[in-house]
Amino acid sequence: MREGRPVAAGLRSVYAGRSHTVVLRAMYALKTSAWFVVVSGFFEPVFFLLSFGLGLGGLIGAIQGPKGLAVSYAAFIAPALLATSAMNGAIYDSTWNVFFKMRFARLYEAMIATSLGPLDIALGEIAYALLRGLVYALAFMSVMFAFGLVLSPWGLLAIPAALLIAFGFASCGMAITSYMKTFQQMDWINFFMLPMFMFSATFYPITVYPEAIQLLVKIFPLWHGIELIRGLTLGQFDSSILWHALYFAVMVAVGLVATTRRLTALFMK
């Protein structure tokens, strides 16, 4: 066996600086894909907002925001739904779509035979997931504006925040997917996602839980995403918001490194 190589040579062997062509490929694929799947990603959170926020919200009335100021129930859950839809879009693209391409379509095998490297592929696929996430985030933000649910100008930062959340989930999602071999294993991802959606202080403040459960919730990423966006759209936050952002920055870095390693291991045996 041979020695390890210097880092620069290492990067050159996995990255050609052409991940945008992988994004382009996804655009071409849209030409032959089912549009309702693409559009449904937008409607899901809107339906939640309408039924829970406006329906249930009528019964609940006001609720305490992060810093104790009362806000309408709809304004409380809307940012959580934005964070969740960023997560869902990213996870859908980076898990099911990637799983199919990896295991059945042999797409990455074809890509890696060109002058693309594994890091180009990882970045390209994630960037496309983000692009889609951006469209959803913009659409949902417009709905929030229309219903008057963005209470602060800081709310504009919710769009890049949603992208950061999507980036974190997409890069980790892709890394995890690369270990999956069967459809059953893929179902574990759903098994994990639904409770995270339900219990991450999505529909009520985290303070309803006992201390121990609160800690548990805070371990998982979605809570950080929700707090990040909620703080911004309600205009109620302090410096702790940076920790939430950092959580996702770490997810991005870990996910990218792991995905590149896995793609190399899988397709460059």
């Binding site: 066996m1 041979r2 190589r5 040579a9 050159r12 062997s13 996995v14 990255y15 050609a16 052409r18 062509t21 992988v22 382009l24 490929r25 071409y28 694929a29 030409k31 032959t32 894909s33 379509a105 042999r106 797409l107 095998e109 074809a110 890509m111 890696i112 035979a113 060109t114 002058s115 693309l116 490297g117 397709f267 460059m268 045996k269």
Partner: protein, 313 residues
């Protein structure tokens, strides 16, 4: 070796080895591929042909030895090397979510080629692959032969210096094979270096200027098809079938005929310079084969001589 000669060497492998855990798939092979030649890797299933191809294609790291492609080490310059290669893998991996023409264009984009170059290039390649009418259909609706041609066309989009073809015609009917061979001849005429794996000896004889015969990860022999046949076989072969029970018994009676006799379960092969005469003598001697045939020696015979097994089981 002089410098000018050196510069025409496209691929150089020395003691090239690949192990998958305990399994040694490629076991210290040495070879060189020169500019403009068609170089063949001939061998049975599991010989290590695809593994060598993948190492040349710089998508598989060698476990030992040296490998240089266009003077670069694939471990360090993977993307740079792959930019000069065209790859036709053993199994098609076309992009089933894209249409036929888009497969060519998008693949070209992976190499960083501009649209201005790719638009006319795609048309030219569709023409080359006789798929112009199919340009706008999805890949799924193509026949096996069409997919294979598209895969080859796709491999040419970056105008590669070296084209790697892993069993380009496996699974095709004879007509489709001949169309493909014709396309490959044209590429060779255009100066493209070809590396071809196959377990069809007729394909190897037709297409390859020079080849190596492989078995179990090792190179058994190397040379031009004609030289290999001359070195390891006789000019002609008499094939006799007496039925599977009698072959071995009859073979003993035939001892002394020709230069060498090979007894296979289903037939007897007599290697000789004078096939027709030997066959006449055998029949005159009272032996009545069920079928008999005199033919030229082929690479199949070379392989049999080298390994004691036939190439296609």
């Amino acid at each position: 070796m002089s410098e000018t000669e050196d510069s025409t060497i496209m691929i150089r492998a020395g003691g090239l080895t690949k192990a998958f855990g305990a399994l040694v798939a490629v076991d210290g092979v040495d070879f060189e591929v020169r500019k403009g030649e068609a170089f063949g890797l001939l061998g049975p299933n599991g010989a290590g042909k695809s593994t060598i191809m993948r190492m040349i294609a710089s998508v598989s790291r060698r476990s030992g030895g040296t490998l240089s492609i266009l003077g670069m080490d694939p471990d360090e310059r993977g993307p740079d090397i792959r930019g000069h290669l065209g790859v036709v893998p053993q199994q098609d991996n076309l992009d089933t979510e894209l249409r036929v023409r888009d497969n060519l264009i998008v693949y070209g984009r992976y190499f960083g080629l501009p649209m201005k170059f790719l638009r006319p290039k795609a048309e030219e390649l569709l023409e080359f692959a006789q798929l112009t009418e199919k340009a706008a259909v999805k890949v799924d609706s193509l026949s096996g032969g069409m997919k294979r041609r598209l895969t080859i066309a796709r491999a040419l989009v970056n105008e590669p210096d070296i084209l790697l073809l892993d069993e380009p015609t496996t699974g095709l009917d004879p007509q489709a094979r001949h169309i493909l061979w014709d396309r490959l001849f044209r590429l060779k005429e255009a100066g493209v270096t070809l590396v071809i794996t196959t377990h069809y000896m007729d394909e190897a004889e037709q297409l390859c200027d020079r080849l190596v015969v492989m078995d179990k990860g090792r190179i058994m022999a190397a040379g031009t098809p004609a030289a290999l046949i001359q070195q390891y076989s006789s000019r002609e072969v008499v094939e006799l079938r007496f039925g599977s029970e009698r072959n071995a018994e009859v073979a003993l009676q035939l001892a002394g005929t020709g230069e060498r006799i090979e007894t296979l379960p289903d037939r007897i092969l007599i290697y000789t310079q004078t096939g027709e005469e030997d066959l006449a003598r055998i029949v005159d001697g009272g032996l009545r084969p069920l079928t008999s045939l005199v033919r030229r020696s082929s690479l199949e015979d070379v392989f049999l001589r080298l390994t004691g097994r036939s190439l296609v089981e």
